[in-house]
Symmetry: C2
Subunit: 355 residues, 2 copies
DNA sequence: CTGAAAGCGCTTACAG
DNA sequence: CTGAAAGCGCTTACAG
């Protein structure tokens, strides 16, 4: 770490910032007029306004959003709480929020909670001090804790893919059950009958729902649910490896494996290949999320796409709608999209298609 | 999109927030005393302070950071400008900044510029209005444009992995040349003599520097530089595929290929495999960045790790140091770390190790 | 230990 | 069209 303090520039005190009063003095008007002119009020005479604008530019005047906020009691600011911005899903959501916020001249505060409920509450408190106009919380496990804050702060809170967003919060969510049912139906249509599920192991609601979709799809057919075809990962590749090993050790292994998410599928894929199996020749594999690299797996992964960025956009749009017109509850539920790639195929020894 | 406005709760006007004056009235003291008590000033009598604290809690009082900022002319806020938060490298940097900011009670504004210089300037202007105490800019191509802003705003700006961070800005950067030289030296030590480079094609400084390291490593030996062993990608897998195809079409193809980044290497890997070549049996492959999935490539990728999160932390720490003591220039340069995995091996037909 | 006063930089009725 | 005045919610010398 090489710190250099050589060049002489940029030393000493900063010259004090020009305020509205400085501009007023220079333009020979009251500061009220300057305020109006700079905000483009039609009340100000054209020539006066131009003069003021010119002087402001010369002096590098830049309005203070903090002073303005104090009087308008509106900060044009929102807070976004995420578990961790390192998660590609989360990053994409934030990008969506940002898109809309930017279009509408809102600035966004970002805070990582590291999935620590305490820190999450502290962060929200900070946002309250900053007087944000609204809050978006992504993938929190403590959705329910936000209800009291919501009423205390008097500021809209939108929950995105949260656990248990019950009660009177606003939410944007993927329809996990429907999406995973779509996927499993597709596997069934390919002719698979021994279909396994590698889930999560933390009791996440999303896991419960995806598992629910798996069961729902089976229940539509005469394929009976078999508990030993359910394994547990941890949402990461290692978990997928463990789960897959367990499944392949079965007396009669599955011909298709549906994974809780793409990272899990990545691990499963590695294990399958490590054991000399071909995908999808010997076993079909599918994930959930459609992360950016899913199309670059070998083979490219069949999965369900969440409209991630769109979800971020919708969360921000919900906030904006709420600013304009407070409604008791906004619940937006989105469909996932089945993305068929090359990791799935009909089973080798074709069972007769169900029914 | 299913919007529900059912439940009756949470309607009507928000009750006005308690201010310092409300607490003062209830506690029978002046609002000055409340201010002192709540900030933990030792000037306030113990019992008075406790009373005030209790009342504040009861009323759900929450200090207004905006009012405070107005008088202290310090917002405890920084702005972070990124090209896009969807880039895993960028996300990790932001996580590092966040870590430190949080420890030190700073809030961070995040803004995507989408690599659009205009938008980048607009965003910085917004930050100026918000009176952020400092700014971090990541991976911008317009580093130089920040010099004038810096002096105008009178606020420290730290450039992270920027293009041409010359002049009097502060910066945190990876030493690209050194890192890529380490990697290519390693390939040479394995016995490779026909080593190719798949670069970027946008004239990024990082590409120029990595290429420089490649050349430097060759120049240390008797291996002469061969222009036809240089191909161009675009930093994404597609680019790696194109580059690799070109290299493999050569009369005498390379035995090792060093790629501008991991994404490029991913594409190269796919092409090699598609042409029936084994990695590293027929050709060794290496990348740069050590993205999270690099260890899950098949085979796991040899690469250079950038201390990404650490770079974010350092950027924020530089800002903090600058708040405490304005220095003319901070330039921090970090070393990359060679990560050897299974995508590299000695060449098949072992040339004699150089020298 | 406590209070009265000034002021941070704006916006916005209210009067002209 | 323009100005004087009040006020947003705090902090902090200054006096006691």
């Amino acid at each position: 770490m090489n710190i250099d303090r050589s060049s002489p520039e940029n030393t000493g005190v900063t010259p004090k910032r020009a305020s509205i009063k400085d501009v007023a003095r220079l333009a020979n008007v009251s500061h009220s007029t300057v305020s109006r002119a700079l905000r483009g009020s039609p009340l100000v005479k054209r020539r006066t306004a131009e003069l003021i604008q010119r002087i402001a530019d010369e002096r590098g005047y830049c309005v203070s959003a903090v002073a303005r906020s104090l009087v308008t009691s509106k900060t044009n600011t929102i807070g976004v709480v995420v578990t961790t911005i390192s998660d590609p899903f989360v990053a994409e959501v934030v990008a969506g929020i940002e898109d809309v916020a930017n279009e509408r001249e809102y600035s966004v505060f970002l805070a990582n909670s590291n999935a620590d409920p305490d820190r999450e509450m502290r962060v929200v408190r900070q946002f309250e001090e900053r007087r944000v106009d609204g809050i978006v919380v992504t993938s929190s496990r403590v959705g329910a804790l936000y209800m009291p804050m919501l009423t205390r702060m008097g500021v809209p809170i939108v929950l995105l893919n949260n656990q248990h967003p019950t009660g009177f919060a606003h939410s944007v969510m993927i329809d996990n059950l429907d999406a995973s049912r779509q996927l499993v139906r597709y596997l069934i249509e390919l002719g698979h009958r021994r279909i396994a599920y590698i889930g999560d192991r933390f009791g996440r609601q999303s896991d419960t729902e995806r598992f629910g979709g798996y069961r729902a799809a089976l229940d539509e057919t005469d394929i009976s649910f078999q508990p030993d075809l359910v394994a547990h990962g941890n949402g990461k590749p290692e978990g997928g490896e463990d789960g897959m090993r367990a499944l392949l050790a079965l007396g009669e292994p599955p011909t298709a494996v549906f994974c809780y998410n793409d990272m899990t599928a990545l691990g499963a894929l590695r294990t399958a290949r490590g054991m000399g199996l071909s995908v999808p020749g010997d076993v079909s594999l599918a994930g959930f999320d459609d992360i950016q690299l899913a199309g670059y797996f070998d083979p490219p992964l069949t999965t369900v796409r969440q409209p991630t960025r769109q979800m971020g956009r919708l969360a921000m749009e919900t906030l904006l709608a709420l600013f304009a017109d407070p409604a008791p509850e906004h619940n937006i539920r989105l469909r996932g999209e089945l993305i068929v790639r090359q990791s799935t195929a009909p089973p080798k020894v074709a069972h007769l298609t169900a029914r």
